[in-house]
Symmetry: C2
Subunit: 477 residues, 2 copies
C-alpha cells in the first residue's frame, strides 16, 4: 500500500483512513465480501496507532460498509450496493489458482521491507546504487538521436539494428560468435530463464542447478513443474563429474550454470572445469543454460570468457543482461542459441507480451556503441572495487572472528559463512528491526548460516556502518 496518512493535514487521521477505505470499497478494489486486513496489520501498514484503526473499523461498520463476525474478521458488506449476497466474485479462489507459485516468503518479506524502509542499509537487492547508473550518458546519447519513425510492432526477436549491435558487442566483450537471427531480446535475464523453463521443458522434467545459486531462489522452476537437482558449487564452480552422476540417476534434461562471479558465492569456474563441463554436456547431449550477467565486472583485469565462447557443439544457450552493467530498470537481456530454438522462444513470447518495448532497445543500442560505454564500465569497476575493499575491511574489523569469506574478484556480492549456529529467519527479522537488509543463504539453497551482502548498493561510508550494525545484530541472536 503506497497511500499514507498526511500528518500535516487538518483532517483527523481516522477520518483520512476512513475515506481511504471507503474509496477503495467504492472502486471495487476491496470488493464486496472481501476481508480487510486485521486491525493490527492495517495499523502496521499505515504506521498508525492500533486504536485509530479500531475507531475507523467501528465507523465503517456503523455506516454499513463492512460487516464483522467473530472469527471471520472484517468483511466488506455484500448488501451495500444493492447486489444479492451471492452477487460477487469469490476472488480468493482465483488468486489461489494458476500455475505460479508465489515468491518465497522470506524473500517477499525482505523485498517488501526494502520498499518501505527509510534510512536503513540495504545489502539485499542485487543491484547498483543510484549514483552508479549512467543516467546522464543515457540521456545525452538518447537526445542526440531521433526516434525512429516506425513505432509499429517490433520483430518478435527484437529490434534488428539492436540485435546486430549486440552481435558485435558479445564478439568484442565475450568472444562469442553469433548472428542477429540467433538472438532473442528479452526483458532481462529473468525473462530468458522464464522462457527457457516454460517453453523447452515439460512438467516432470529433471534439471540440474547449482547449489547455492540465484536459480534456487526462483519459484519459476517449481512453477514449471520441474524436478530440481543440485550441483554443489565451490570457489572453482561445480564439479563436472556431478553432471554425469545426476544424469545417470535422474536423466536430467538441462543444466543451469552461472560460471563467472556466481550469485551468491562470487566464485569463478576454472578453465579446465569449463572445458570438461562442455565435453560432458556434449557427450550426453544435454543443453547448458549459461547465465552471465556480471562477467564484465572483473576487478583484477582478468577476462573470463563464457562457456559459449568455447562451445563448438551449439549446446549452450547463452543468457546475458544489461541490468548489472547499466541499469536493472532498463530491462534488457538476451538469449543466444540455435536458430530453431530462438524461433520457438520468440513465437511463444509473442503470446506472452508481444515483445520488448522498442525504447529500452533504442537506448541500449545507442549507449553500448558509444565511446561513453567503455568509460562507464571502467568507472563502474573502479567504484565496485573500492566498495568491495571497504566491505572486506569492515568484515575483517567487525566480524573477523565470526565469519569466513573469500574476497570476490568481481561482481556485486560478498558471500559469508557465519561460524556460530544461527537461524536464518531470526537473523533476518532481527536485522530488519535494526534497518539492515541482506539475503540469507537459505533462499539460494545453502544451509542456514550463510549470508549474501551486496556492496554495490551502498556508499563506502555506509558499508562500514552496515557491517558494524550487522555485527551487533549477530551478537544478539
Amino acid at each position: 500500500m503506497e497511500w499514507s496518512v498526511n500528518r500535516e493535514s487538518d483532517k483527523p487521521i481516522y477520518q483520512q483512513i476512513f475515506e481511504y477505505i471507503e474509496e477503495k470499497i467504492a472502486y471495487g478494489e476491496f470488493p464486496p465480501g472481501s476481508r480487510l486486513p486485521s486491525e493490527r496489520k492495517m495499523a502496521e501498514q499505515l504506521n498508525v496507532n492500533r486504536m485509530t484503526i479500531v475507531h475507523v473499523y467501528d465507523e465503517l461498520q456503523a455506516s454499513g460498509l463492512v460487516e464483522r463476525k467473530k472469527g471471520s474478521g472484517t468483511r466488506v458488506s455484500t448488501h451495500k450496493w444493492g447486489i444479492l449476497p451471492k452477487g460477487v466474485t469469490n476472488w480468493r479462489k482465483y488468486i489461489e489458482g494458476g500455475s505460479f507459485l508465489p515468491t518465497y516468503p522470506l524473500i517477499k518479506r525482505i523485498r517488501d521491507e526494502a520498499k518501505v524502509m527509510k534510512d536503513g542499509y540495504n545489502m539485499a537487492g542485487g543491484e547498483l546504487s543510484t549514483d552508479l547508473f549512467p543516467a546522464s550518458f543515457l540521456q545525452a546519447s538518447f537526445n542526440q538521436h531521433a526516434f525512429p519513425s516506425n513505432l509499429g510492432y517490433v520483430h518478435p526477436q527484437g529490434h534488428l539494428e539492436f540485435r546486430e549491435t549486440l552481435a558485435s558487442y558479445v564478439k568484442e566483450y565475450h568472444d562469442i560468435n553469433v548472428t542477429s537471427s540467433s538472438i532473442l531480446i528479452t526483458s532481462g535475464a529473468q525473462q530468458a530463464l522464464y522462457l527457457i523453463t516454460q517453453c523447452l521443458l515439460n512438467p516432470g522434467d529433471a534439471v540440474a542447478i547449482e547449489a547455492p545459486s540465484y536459480s534456487y531462489s526462483l519459484p519459476l522452476f517449481q512453477s514449471a513443474g520441474l524436478r530440481i537437482f543440485a550441483l554443489p558449487v565451490d570457489a572453482e564452480g561445480i564439479n563436472p563429474d556431478d553432471i554425469v552422476t545426476l544424469y545417470r540417476k535422474h536423466q536430467i534434461r538441462m543444466i543451469f550454470l552461472n560460471p563467472t562471479f556466481q550469485s551468491p558465492t562470487g566464485g569463478v569456474m576454472t578453465e579446465p572445469r569449463r572445458e570438461r563441463v562442455l565435453e560432458i554436456a556434449a557427450e550426453l547431449g544435454i543443453p547448458i543454460v549459461e547465465d552471465d550477467p556480471v562477467s564484465l565486472l572483473s576487478f583484477d583485469g582478468k577476462t573470463h570468457y563464457p562457456l559459449k565462447s568455447i562451445d563448438k557443439s551449439g549446446n549452450v544457450l547463452y543468457v546475458g543482461s544489461l541490468s548489472k552493467v547499466i541499469a536493472s530498470s532498463l530491462r534488457v537481456g538476451w538469449i543466444m542459441g540455435p536458430e530453431s530454438v530462438i524461433n520457438r522462444l520468440a513465437d511463444a513470447r509473442q503470446q506472452i507480451d508481444f515483445g520488448l518495448s522498442i525504447f529500452p532497445q533504442l537506448i541500449a543500442n545507442q549507449f553500448i556503441q558509444s565511446p561513453e560505454y567503455p568509460k562507464h564500465l571502467a568507472f563502474l569497476k573502479q567504484e565496485l572495487l573500492e566498495r568491495r575493499n571497504e566491505m572486506v575491511l569492515a568484515l575483517n574489523e567487525y566480524l573477523g572472528d565470526k565469519v569466513e569469506f573469500s574476497v570476490p574478484k568481481g561482481g556485486l556480492f560478498c558471500w559469508c559463512k557465519i561460524k556460530q549456529k544461527v537461524d536464518d529467519q531470526k537473523l533476518v527479522e532481527e536485522a530488519i528491526k535494526n534497518k539492515i537488509l541482506f539475503m540469507p543463504g537459505s533462499v539460494y539453497g545453502s544451509p542456514n548460516g550463510y549470508v549474501r551482502f551486496t556492496y554495490a548498493r551502498l556508499q563506502r561510508e555506509a558499508i562500514k556502518e552496515a557491517v558494524l550494525k550487522f555485527a551487533k545484530v549477530l551478537d544478539k541472536v
Copy 2:
C-alpha cells in the same frame, strides 16, 4: 532469416550463401545433427534460384560440413568438430516441449509475409501506419524531462508516478475510479491477458469468449489448458442471457469481452446489454475481463464508457493499452481490479520478467499528461475517420454486390461478409500472391467467408487500390 545475398558484390552468390551457412554452423546456430531447410525452401527464403542452393549444398557436403541421406534431407555433420556422434543436443525434442502452442499457421503465414513483403498492401496487422505515430511529440516531451536518477528495479506493479497519472487518465477519459495501488502496468494488453489466463485460472477451467473475437486468435487460452466456450457477438455485442446458459452447462469461470469497437467486428455493445451483463456476472459471481484498447477512437463524438465505469461489485478486471492510441511498440498496457488480484498478478509477473522497463513508462507518463496528447487523439480520430470513409467508398464501388458490412463507428477495422462461398486459406494465398494482406475471419472463430480489413495502416490512396486488388483476387478464387 534477415540475412540476404548482396547482388552488388563481386563475390558470387553461391559463395556468399556457402559462407553464410558455414558461419551459422560454426556458431552453433545450425547445431550438429540439425536439419537444414530443403533446397526449395532455402531458395525461397533467400530469393535465389534453386540450382544455386543445390550447388551450395553440394559444396557443403564436399567440405564435410553437412551429410545427406536419402529421405532425411541435409543435416549438419556431427563429426566435424571432433565430437562424438552422440555428442549433441537433440534440440527438436526441446522445441516440441513446453506448454506453449505455436501461433496458428494461417496467422503465422500472414505475419511472416508481412515481415518480408515490399510495396504490397497490408490490411492485416491491427496497428497504425507510421505517419500516425506521435514520434516527434514523444521525443520532444522526452527531451524536456530529465531521466530519473534512480534506475533500479521498479515497483512490481509499475512506476508509481505513472500509475498515479493513469488513475487520473482513466478517470478523465473513461470515468473509471481507481487508485494507484490497484493498477498493474503490463507489456500491452497482450501481457494482461496472458497473466490473467495463467495466474487466475487452472487447466480445465471453462471460460467464455466472444465469437468472433481477437481472443479467439490467441493460442494462449489453449496453452493455459482452458476450455473455451463461445458467446456469439452481433452488432450490439453479446446476448447477456447466453452467459447464463453457458454457466449452467459448463460452469464457466471467467468472461472475456471487448465491448467497444470490437475486434474484428467493430461492433459496440449497447448500454442495456452492458448493464445486464454486469448484473448477470455479479449474480453468478463470475469475473469479467474487459479488453478495451480502442474505445477512445470514436468517430461520431459519442463516448462509450467501459463496463468498469458502471460496475459496483468489483467484478471487472479492466484491461487497457496505449498500443492503438500511441504506438504498439511502446508496449504499455494495464490491468485495474481488486487489490488482492493485482498483488497476485504483480508477484507472478516478477517471476516472468521483473516488470516493464521504466523508459516506456516515463515516455507514456510525460505524453498522456501533456497538452499534446488530446491534440494527437483528435488528429488520429480525424485521420482514421477519413481512411474509414475511403474504405467504405471503395468497398461499395468495387465489392458492392459481393460483400456485406456495416460502417464501423470507431476503431481500426472493417468487417466484411463475402456473399459467395470461399475458402479462407485459398483466399489468403491468392491475396498474398497479389501482395494483399488481410485477416480471414476464421482465425477469430467465425465461419469461412469473413474478412477483417485494417484501414489504419494504409494511406487513403492505397486503400482504394488495395480494395480494388482484393476484388480481383476474389473474382479469381
